[in-house]
């Protein structure tokens, strides 16, 4: 296990599909990302030596070799199997017996052990809309892993982390949305204080799974296609793009409907005084045309709050990690 020489605070976005570490180097923010997934390969001495030679993160467990992080995708494609996930719908995967162990391995491969009391802030999802908070186990477990590594640990709501990362110009007032793999997380903040937050389970994985069930393709392939070439442009070149458009549209409608519902149910809503911005982030918000489609749906919905702008975050894949780092830097 590596030991950190720096005592600079860290931000960690622990998402369903990716884990992203943010740290500060001078005035710049630096990021490191790993897939939050793994795949098992039958054990052989040759495979093990190849993995070692190529410095692929892996663990040998009896008759299997577990490849985790970024390389798991390549091996899954090679072996024609699905990757396994430590998390589902924003929290630790209860159906995956090795989730906790793998989570620990992926995190320790990315985050060095704290040398002294170093601050680390990690993201946690909001409770699903209309449900009680059932995130205690998830948050406590991650906190324990990081505390064991010597960190002074705090957590931050994922939606709020988007506000912290992107909305300094509006005194940290606005709606931050993180469209990830397992969840879309939303947070309305006023002067840095979260007023309302929620999550919906319709996000990237929902689109992939739904599209896979309709097209008969493997989920991994759908995801790669979606990330590499999908865009909203009003016409669909093939069946897969058409199917993706349908499920994306459903997700956006669910998101906007959820926002309206959550705001309607928020007591003591502050008087904003002026229109507020919405910032979209996360890998699922990246396809070309997503922002415009979201704006259309928002406009059709007659959203309750006046909106000054809808924009995509400057660096959508790293926004939540940056927000967590900002929280850590401001002493939480």
């Amino acid at each position: 296990m590596k030991t950190s020489e720096s005592t600079s605070p860290l931000g960690l976005d622990i998402g369903t599909s990716r884990i992203c570490l943010a740290q500060r180097a001078g005035d710049e923010f630096q990021y490191e990302t790993q897939l939050n997934a793994f795949v098992t390969v039958p054990y052989s001495k040759m495979t093990e030596s190849v993995l070692k030679k190529q410095k692929v993160p892996h663990t040998v467990t009896g008759p299997e070799i577990i490849v985790h992080g970024n390389e798991s995708d390549r091996f899954a494609d090679l072996l024609n199997v699905e990757t396994r996930r430590t998390m589902t719908k924003g929290v630790l995967n209860p159906a995956e017996p090795g989730s906790l162990d793998m989570m620990r391995k992926i995190i320790t491969a990315m985050v060095e052990t704290a040398k002294s009391k170093q601050k680390l802030c990690f993201t946690v999802p909001a409770a699903p809309l209309g449900h009680e908070d059932n995130l205690t186990y998830h948050e406590t477990t991650l906190r324990q892993i990081l505390t064991d590594m010597g960190y002074e640990v705090r957590s931050i709501n994922e939606g709020l982390s988007i506000v912290y990362a992107e909305m300094d110009q509006t005194s940290y007032t606005g709606i931050g949305i993180s469209c990830g793999g397992g969840l879309c997380n939303v947070c309305l903040a006023y002067l840095s204080v979260p007023v309302m937050s929620f999550s919906i389970p319709r996000a990237g994985d929902y689109i992939d799974t739904s599209a896979a069930s309709v097209t008969g393709e493997r989920i991994n392939r759908i995801r790669l296609e979606k990330e590499e070439s999908f865009h909203f442009n009003g016409f669909s070149p093939g069946k897969l793009h058409q199917v993706l458009s349908v499920y994306y549209d459903e997700m956006i409608h669910s998101l906007v409907h959820g926002m309206k519902q959550a705001i309607a149910g928020t007591r003591n809503m502050p008087k904003m005084g002026k229109p507020i911005p919405i910032v979209l982030s996360g890998g699922t918000a990246m396809p070309e045309g997503f922002k415009e489609r979201f704006q259309e749906v928002l406009k059709e919905s007659e959203f309750q709050l006046p909106i000054s702008e809808v924009r995509l975050a400057a660096d959508p894949l790293h926004t939540a990690a940056k927000g967590a780092l900002v929280a850590a830097l401001t002493d939480m």
């Binding site: 912290y164 006023y190 401001t330």
Partner: protein, 385 residues
């Protein structure tokens, strides 16, 4: 209800260039603001009255600041909040009769004199102009200019009938102690009885290193210039309600009325020890923190002087730390923000960084403090040690 306060916080935040510093400020300021909001939303009657008053005051100050968002406002002190409220009209109270050991006044005030004691007589003391304060005094005064409220921080028994004897025993001990040390001019015990200790014409060693300023004048080291009233209670920053009994609040009200009437003391110069106490060594406001929060200004017929910008900050370059902020409890010292904003604006107006300007103010304090530091502060310091 506190939307104007939030607008003030936002306005202030937008003037902090560094995003991380801005977020730190917001997280601190909004936490305090929300605590205030929670307090105001409770339905107690006195809080409703205070809330209304606070709302009006905050609105006035937010507007005042919003009107002058640039350096053109730099030389303008935040508008005085105290003069806006009808509760601060100068009371008219007179002495009705004097008996062997007591006095009775026209507003029902009764003062016990059996613990009365003399001390060094009040000497003429300097008052400095608050705007463009020079190191030479603007005027010299001989009558008290204000009142500082203290807590005795003494042993407290539950305020119950069964504890009456124990409370009375403590009263006697505390009265003896503070009389011997010439600590205050008046003390109000748990049952609301008002005791005269040091004579009004003399100095009490109550404020030590201290600064207060009203709209026009600044006073340094207040032993000589301000009267003192100690309420037998202790500081409880975790409580939103005053930690004084109803009888004490009533007595403090009539005593304050009498002193204001007698010496024509403005309401803005009736303040708590925490608001005036400074530490010259580390340049921090709030060396003592008694009545840092929850002082019942409105029940005493005064405006909420927690909204007043402390002159220690904007005139003499003091600052404050989290200890004072913690001690303010559920109340929000908007005055701290106003004073810092004033200091920042003055620095900008003179083309100086805040650090450079603060140093100039601190140098001014050092010179003035040296000039006015008489026997009183030194003596109190030795008492405290």
């Amino acid at each position: 209800m506190v939307a104007p306060l939030n607008r003030l916080i936002e306005w202030r935040a937008q003037r902090i260039e560094d995003p991380l510093e801005r977020l730190k400020f917001l997280r601190h300021a909004t936490t305090s603001s929300m605590t205030l909001q929670a307090t105001l939303l409770r339905p107690q009657r006195w809080q409703a009255v205070t809330g209304g008053l606070l709302f009006a005051m905050i609105t006035i100050s937010a507007f005042t600041l919003a009107r002058h968002p640039t350096s053109t406002a730099a030389a303008t002190l935040p508008e005085r909040l105290g003069t806006q409220s009808g509760v601060q009209l100068m009371p008219k109270v007179w002495l009705v009769e004097t008996k062997q050991d007591s006095e009775v006044y026209s507003n029902g005030l009764r003062i016990e004199n059996k613990y009365s004691v003399g001390n060094e007589p009040r000497k003429p003391y300097p008052a400095f102009a608050r705007r463009n304060a020079q190191e030479t005094p603007s005027e010299w005064r001989t009558q008290p200019s204000g009142i500082v409220f203290h807590t005795t921080e003494s042993l407290q028994f539950p305020f119950e009938q069964s504890a009456t004897k124990a409370i009375q025993r403590v009263d006697v001990d505390v009265l003896g102690f503070v009389r011997q040390n010439r600590s205050y001019h008046f003390m109000i015990d748990k049952f609301g009885q008002v005791y005269r200790l040091v004579k009004e014409s003399d100095v009490a060693y109550h404020a030590g290193f201290s600064v207060w300023g009203d709209e026009r004048m600044v006073f340094v080291n207040l032993n000589n210039s301000f009267l003192s009233i100690a309420i037998e209670t202790h500081t409880r920053p975790d409580q939103e309600m005053p930690t004084a009994t109803a009888a004490q609040i009533h007595s403090a009200r009539v005593l304050t009325q009498m002193l204001r009437s007698k010496y024509q003391i403005p309401a803005a110069d009736c303040v708590t020890h925490a608001q005036v106490s400074v530490n010259p060594d580390n340049r921090l406001l709030g060396f003592h923190t008694d009545w840092a929060g929850n002082f019942p200004f409105s029940e005493l017929g005064l405006g909420d002087n927690y909204l007043e910008p402390p002159a220690a900050i904007d005139t003499f370059g003091f600052t404050y730390d989290s200890t004072l902020v913690q001690a303010t409890g559920s109340r929000y010292w908007q005055g701290l923000i106003l004073a810092e904003e004033q200091m920042r604006a003055q620095a900008m107006n003179q083309g100086l960084s805040q650090a450079e300007y603060r140093k100039i103010l601190q140098d001014k304090y050092r010179k003035i403090s040296k000039a006015v530091r008489g026997n009183s502060a030194e003596k109190e310091k030795s008492n405290e040690n």
